[in-house]
């Protein structure tokens, strides 16, 4: 075969390949690699309007000029961004015929979490007969929300159905130039959630992806945008507390929250992705950018997170307190075991007058894990009478793990009031023996002590979530002492 012939065949193959994507929308995946062509294909696959593609391309071009951050207190082998496929149609899990075919260890965990059989089937991909309950439940919810004018849909849907809202708010809190991972996300995000709460509406239920039928498998590059218009309120739950074994190695999500005058957003996360095995093999790299803007006066944003999964967690849910009298809160429990690494914390940026922020961070390290709190409190010159309270506690289990605290303060207004407390403690033999002596086993004793330590954060979670989070902590700590 001559060289020209080879070239022609190649061209032809590529052409057909490309064509194939445009026509067959649902079933295909993009080949590995990242370039402008891939991004255009991705946008076309998703039938996106022109503005979206432009935004993605701007982000991609900017990303090319950026370097992966090296400042976090985490170690991982270099990531080859050209070796990743940036779009695959929702992965179909292998269909199993009954729960007998599921990994018994996984079932044991579900049992401990108190997850119903139907749910267990759904989570493990076992075919569920007839109509699955939550489907009809979800539809009911959607109707109810619609009556109030609340928009709750997938990001892809929002781009098509509500482009004016997306255009107005997308990137307004986390610009596409923000940081290496957020910029990558801006270029290639696959899907996610969109919420809009109209003026004066109090969302009558906790919004959760669980109730959104089409939310499954939103993939590695999730994008969430929540807008609370004047005087509205919403509580959003992210994540499913059941340990779904997501095997994607790299996750880089972006969450943007916007609270206008007198609006309030409460965002709760329980993250328990695959942390890798006991020897540190496998596990998810979770590089997330979460930021909320308290744009209006008297607005409030609360982040509550319970992080027990992932091999690497790099995450700083933050608040920009722009409106006068606005309030930012961050409540966090980060647990690391075995070889997990977490570098997490928050940023509170005080711009408006009389702005207040609260930071309660509880780190728990077990096994050979490393757990770092990194937090910034910044008060600009114009922010009169800003107040911050920070409390960063670390709890160590055993002597092979590490806890680190990196607080940063930038105060440019002398009327600011700051309080900072930090403690590091070990679970005492005394405490364990005391509980043993009351008939409680060591494992359960540690569960009690750790849950007690996290109480202030759990108190911020919606009731049901708090109960599951407690169970999750105990499960994550199993075998960590002995």
């Amino acid at each position: 075969m001559s060289s020209t012939e080879v070239k022609t065949i190649e061209e032809l193959a590529n052409k057909e390949y490309k064509y194939g994507f445009v026509t067959d929308l649902e079933a295909d995946s993009l080949p590995i690699g990242l370039n402008e062509n891939i991004i255009s294909q991705l946008s076309a696959l998703k039938n996106e309007p022109e503005f979206m593609l432009e935004w993605r391309l701007k982000a991609y071009r900017h990303w090319l000029t950026m370097k992966e951050p090296t400042w976090p207190n985490i170690k991982y082998p270099p990531i080859d961004y050209q070796a990743i496929s940036y779009y695959s149609a929702p992965k179909k899990k292998p269909k199993l015929n009954s729960l007998d075919e599921v990994d018994p260890e996984l079932l044991k965990t579900y049992e401990k979490l108190g997850i119903s059989l139907t749910e267990q089937k759904m989570l493990t991909g076992v075919a569920v007969d007839a109509v699955f309950d939550s489907v009809s439940v979800a539809t009911t919810f959607k109707d109810k929300l619609g009556e109030l004018g609340i928009i709750f849909c997938s990001f892809s849907e929002a781009v098509k159905e509500h482009p004016e809202l997306v255009k107005k708010y997308l990137g307004s809190v986390v610009p596409y130039t923000d940081n290496f991972f957020a910029t990558l996300n801006s270029a290639v995000f696959s899907d996610g959630s969109f919420v809009y709460i109209p003026r004066g509406v109090r969302c009558p239920m906790e919004l959760s992806t669980y109730f959104r039928i089409n939310a499954a498998n939103t993939g590695q590059f999730e994008r969430t945008l929540i807008v609370a218009d004047e005087g509205s309120y919403v509580s959003y739950l992210e994540g499913c507390t059941a340990p779904v074994r997501d095997e994607n190695q790299l996750h880089a999500a972006v969450v943007e929250l916007i609270a206008l005058d007198n609006a309030q957003i409460k965002y709760s996360t329980v993250q328990n992705w695959y942390p890798g095995d006991k020897d540190g093999k496998g596990g998810i790299y979770n590089f997330v950018t979460k930021r909320g803007a308290c744009r209006g006066v008297n607005s409030k944003i609360s982040w509550t997170q319970v992080e027990t999964g992932s091999a690497i967690t790099w995450k700083y849910p933050s608040c920009i307190l722009q409106g006068d009298n606005s309030v930012g809160e961050f409540y966090s429990v980060a647990l690391t075991n075995n070889h997990q690494q977490a570098d997490t914390g928050t940023k509170m940026i005080h711009l408006g007058k009389n702005t207040r922020s609260t930071i309660i961070s509880k780190g728990i390290s077990a096994g050979q894990s490393q757990n770092s709190y990194r937090g910034l409190v910044k008060i600009v010159k114009k922010a009169e009478n800003a107040r911050n309270f920070s409390q960063c506690d670390s709890l160590l289990l055993g002597d092979k793990c590490g806890a680190h605290t990196f607080p940063y303060l930038e105060i440019n207004n002398s009327s600011a009031q700051m309080e900072h407390e930090a403690t590091t403690s070990k679970i005492g033999e005394d405490q364990i023996f005391y509980l043993n002596q009351r008939g409680i086993s060591t494992e359960e004793a540690i569960g009690l002590i750790v849950n007690g330590y996290c109480k202030e954060v759990f108190a911020e979670l919606p009731m049901e979530f708090a109960v599951e989070a407690q169970k999750l902590l105990s499960i994550s700590l199993e075998g960590s002492v002995g």
Binding site: Q431, F433, Y434, L435, Q437, R438, G439, S441, L448, G452
Partner: protein, 255 residues
Amino acid sequence: MLEIKNLHAGIEGNEILKGINLKVNAGEVHAIMGPNGSGKSTLAQVLAGREEFVVTKGEIKYNGKNILNMAPEDRAREGMFLAFQYPVEIPGVSNTNLLKTALNEIRKYHGEEELDTIEFLALVKEKMKLVELDQKFLSRSVNEGFSGGEKKRNEIFQMAVLQPKLAILDETDSGLDIDALKIVANGVNKLRSKDKAIIVVTHYQRLLNYIIPDFVHVLYNGKIVKSGGKELAFELEEKGYDWVKNEKIEEMVNL
């Protein structure tokens, strides 16, 4: 109920208990007295199964079973209770949560059904009266920010809820004023019964004015050097521990 034979135990190679012999039957109250450093608290901790203390010789039988290899939680589930000299603080864990967990663990061990919240609260409220504790106390974290007296009362309250067969009170009187002492003693007395035994470990005689023992043992230098009835406690109070020490030395000289 409890039989200790030639018990030797220590910590980090130092022998503290040097051949203890003691027999306690159901229905009896034994007082173990002795000067500081005689090994009283070590004995209490060894009975409860604290791992730091290594038993080098001898045996402990509880209801006919050798318990030396039994985990502390199993000893507790078998009905042994230690009221701590220094009750431990557990931040964020409410008294209710601790007690409910403990009680249900013990019930499970005996194949009994767990108590539901309503049954549990009824039981707890009844027992609180014994030691005159306020209900608010239930939601407070275990021993956190408690006064010395509250901590000791809490120990007796836990004992009242868990209903042990053998209770060991380790210096429960230390740090108590006279009113608190009476409340604690009163609580203990109400728990006395034919099928239960109590070991009171104390430095001073004054608690024994309120909890009248059937037997008094004097522990000195890791051994029980004198045993007798409740009169022995008064004698000790009058003559001081030097009396025992001197007598012991005389005995040794005469040998």
